[in-house]
Symmetry: C2
Subunit: 206 residues, 2 copies
């Protein structure tokens, strides 16, 4: 795609570095900004720069936070002995939305993925093992996505903490609420059969 | 969607102002930037700001250009008496890619659209009419998209130039090359029948 202006080309190229944004979409977005008042571009740019340079991560659980310790970790009513291991802040938000979890989180910042060049050292795994070593942890709940990378990461962490006397669990895999059985893949369906639960549990009020 | 950080929220909100980018996509993009080195955000921000503040438009045809007069308008081999009226720079690029047009363009900067609050005064219509009044124009080719807004804009311009002795034309509407007849809508098919062309013309080498 040959663009008639270097300035436009730079903007499009940088925009298309973002995941899921191709050159054509980038051009559409950039032309949209050109039609808007210059302030909008100014505000967008400074919001992004401020976010990137000033954002903090909670010292306890490594989630994104405006304070040194995030709202969840500093909440006295949360059970610090139950730690839910997640990939990033979106998972924290999703789990918080359920209103079902009263423990705290540990945000790894990604999954082990040799293809993307992400090894264990780039993730916040050491600090999780340290927490376990200190002895105040009763349960670790693995809530990574159910992919090869997620399973690898789960297992890598599990190997390091399995000798400590703590409970480890993963969130249940099964047929999503509202889903038709016939469209479920066999692995999910097989697991949901193996890990079946007492019927009484399933009719408990949510 | 409740975000754990004001900085993150600002960035997501500004990002989701862009067309086709919802809050969830914006969050994904912003979190991607957080995982990349800070320089990438810096480069993106400054590319956008530089583009918005420094970009120029050709004084002749109003397309985006780094110079006062764009490469097409300043090209002596282009026929200045044939003007193709288009909506924005993407249309210029698309038409240039065909290699079939040897005239010049006139970029309106949009279409008349009462719903979006865009009236004729916000478009570069007056300068087009001026060009026609000066008397050096032989033909105006309307190449706006075939929507209600496009047709309205065509007609609005047509009314102002119809009394001058110039040719006016629109690009042909018809079945796209490679398309199956059965999937064409009836308006397109009907028009392609009405505006049929001599068979000899259709087998000319492209």
């Amino acid at each position: 795609m040959e663009l008639p202006s270097k300035l436009l080309e730079n903007a499009v190229n940088e925009m298309s570095q973002l995941p899921g944004i191709g050159k054509r979409t980038a051009l559409r977005l950039v032309l949209h900004l050109l039609k808007q008042p210059a302030e909008q571009t100014e505000i967008l740019s400074s919001a992004l720069t401020a976010m990137r340079n000033e954002i903090q991560f909670c010292k306890e659980c490594h989630t994104i936070s405006d304070d040194e310790i995030c709202g969840i970790c500093s909440n006295a009513s949360r059970d610090k002995s139950i730690i839910c291991v997640v990939e990033d802040v979106r998972d924290v938000m999703a789990l918080e939305n359920t209103g079902m979890f009263k423990g705290v989180y540990h945000v790894l910042g990604g999954k082990i993925s040799p293809i993307e060049g992400i090894g264990p050292s780039q993730l916040k795994i050491t600090s999780l093992v340290e927490k376990v070593k200190k002895g105040n942890v009763a349960e670790i709940i693995f809530a990574l996505s159910s992919t090869m990378e997620g399973d690898t990461t789960n297992f890598y962490i599990y190997k390091q903490i399995k000798d400590f006397e703590i409970k480890t669990s993963t969130i249940a895999r099964g047929i999503a609420v509202g889903d038709e059985l016939e469209y479920a893949d066999e692995v999910t369906l097989g697991r949901s059969l193996l890990n079946r639960i007492p019927f009484e549990n399933s009719i408990k009020p949510y």
